[in-house]
Symmetry: C2
Subunit: 373 residues, 2 copies
């Protein structure tokens, strides 16, 4: 007896591999962004981890990567299975609506009815089976016409993430845990984050979006019609000899806007956004405090050491050392320290100040020290 | 009318340039000991500072340097005026009684009646006129037959130095401030150091010894007759073709003992030790906290930066950065930090833990990491 078509058969993964990860300087650089590093000690890059996590869902011929021209070689080295038509190169960054919208427009033209899921190249997820289960539910909800996100069940009052306030169940077939969304809320203060955690109706916004490509484009068109027109012009030309000329003309003029604002929030306002609570461990590894936490397994007084052939001698010290220089590193009596040692730049800070590292990068830009950025 | 001979005319300066300065690792190394560094920002090495301070007292042809064979070239580069007969090379370190005793024996043989003053190569002294005044008094007291030391008037309850407990005035002609010595005391605890400071009869032991060479040798002979015999055998052969053979035979067998124990304490017990209170600023620059203090002028929240072409970006940070690698160094929110960045080794500690750096060096030795020592 033939089964009804599984919507996962129409699923395509999209990996936007863009951000440098300024808070992870001097490890992350313009020419060595966060997604090209092994921050988990898994032995492979975050990008490769992301790929491996998605293959069981969409297969390795149905994963598209959107990245900068400068990173093409590094991406292809990490992902030798990546098919040439699945490489989308940005001539310059235009934010997530353009990146994901272009992928949606290209894929919808090639394969009408396709369902896409966009997953950042530089996040960390444990409990892969729970992740897969959540994506399967998300794909079912997307097939029913929803814009879908996966919100992570908070495990602590984090202040580094935005939150999604959920409302009641949606009762979608194949997506039994789908909830409607009340609103998106920005990164909270610590007391507010504690309130969110106690309340139980708030999930972390992990920036994962799953939707039918046509529905995603429809939402972009409703909020940003010029952006949609540009994306469609690009998609028309993409698989033709005109691609280069059209990209040069259209891409640099696309509006820079996060997909949260062009798609997710408008859809939520119309009751067309569904959220699947994700019960898996997730982290965006946004700063070195987060990297340290990943490695310490939550043990406060440990010293995490990253880097091949690291030579570290530590006495009464805790925190994290990232060694990319091969030098001997000695720590004496420093608690919750962050030391990142690279051949041309050194960072010394504390876990508590890890978010401020972005300001260092900004200051280095202003002072003309781009040789170390 | 002829003046009575000024004892300073018979004065010879001796600079033992030996210790590595382990607490200043990774700046100080076996092949780049503390005395070859500029730790004051003066633009020249501590050894050169020491030389320049002594020239007005003894003249540049009457300064002898006792150093290791490995440092000969570096010492001569720093001190181009240093006369060849004034270079005494140790084949291996045998502590201060051997180093200073050998200088005394050589000089006494060359010039009977000579008065020698021994001053470490790696200390910092400000108020040079007050230093010169103290040495002049010390030379007068030495001429009267005393073993003389200069004790530094404490300015704070330091726990990193030994102390000299003084007794009454000695009334020596030309040495009006000379006091007799009650005893030498070891590095105290903080409460004891506070008591010493309040008491007023305690001076810091700066390891400066001034004496007639014959008197110094007499004291060594009284406490360590075998050591004296060895030194005399060396001195007999020193200015002859036999030097090399005798050094090879005698030097490695000399007893290792600090001059404090072979000369100063026995002389004190016999009432033959005089101390001249030194009113000048002095520091042995024993660790990076001390280096930081020298550079901050006592201002607690400053960040001292040492090193030519240092590139340092600091946000809300204090302490000291020593940059010998040319790398960009960024500090974010670290207080009283010590960062010492060299091409092959990095140290991160705090001012409060600066004394513990010696333990790092010991651990590196044990772990076979001598490439960075």
């Amino acid at each position: 007896m033939p089964q009804p078509s599984d919507p996962l058969d129409r699923f395509y993964s999209v990996i936007p591999a863009g951000g440098v990860g300024s808070r992870l300087w001097p490890l992350s650089r313009a020419d060595a962004p966060k997604f090209l590093h092994d921050l988990t000690g898994s032995g492979q890059t975050l990008l490769r981890d992301t790929w491996d996590r998605l293959v069981p869902l969409s297969g390795d011929q149905r994963i598209m990567v959107v990245t900068g021209r400068a990173h093409r070689a590094a991406v292809e080295e990490q992902l030798p299975e990546l098919a040439d038509p699945n490489v989308v190169l940005e001539s310059e960054p235009r934010d997530s609506s353009a990146a994901i919208g272009l992928a949606a427009a290209i894929l919808e033209k090639r394969e009408p009815g396709v369902i896409i899921g966009s997953f950042a190249a530089d996040h960390v997820i444990n409990s892969i089976p729970l992740f897969h289960q959540a994506v399967r539910e998300a794909v079912a909800a997307a097939d029913a016409g929803y814009i879908v996100t996966i919100g992570i069940q908070p495990t602590e009052p984090a202040i580094g993430f935005g939150y999604i306030k959920t409302a009641g169940p949606l009762e979608i077939e194949g997506a039994g845990s789908a909830l409607s969304v009340n609103s998106f809320v920005e990164k909270p203060t610590r007391p507010t984050a504690k309130r969110y955690l106690a309340n139980g109706n708030y999930l972390w916004n992990a920036g994962m979006f799953i939707a039918r490509a046509d529905r995603l484009l429809e939402e972009i068109g409703a909020s940003e019609p010029e952006l949609l027109a540009g994306l469609q012009e690009l998609a028309e030309a993409w698989d033709t000899p005109e691609r280069g000329a059209v990209v040069d003309k259209v891409w640099p003029r696309l509006k820079r806007i996060a997909i949260d604002y062009s798609v997710a929030e408008p859809a939520a306002a119309k009751g067309k956004l569904a959220v699947i609570p994700g019960l898996f461990d997730w982290d965006d590894v946004g700063d070195f405090a987060s990297v340290a936490k990943l490695h310490s397994g939550g043990r406060k007084h440990d010293l995490a050491i990253l880097g091949q052939n690291a030579r570290v001698l530590a006495d009464s010290s805790s925190g994290i050392v990232v060694s990319h220089s091969g030098r001997m590193i000695a720590l004496v009596g420093v608690e919750d320290i962050v030391v990142v040692d690279t051949p041309d730049a050194l960072l010394v800070t504390t876990s508590a100040n890890a978010q401020k590292v972005k300001a260092v990068v900004d200051a280095l830009k202003l002072s003309g020290s781009s040789d170390v950025l």
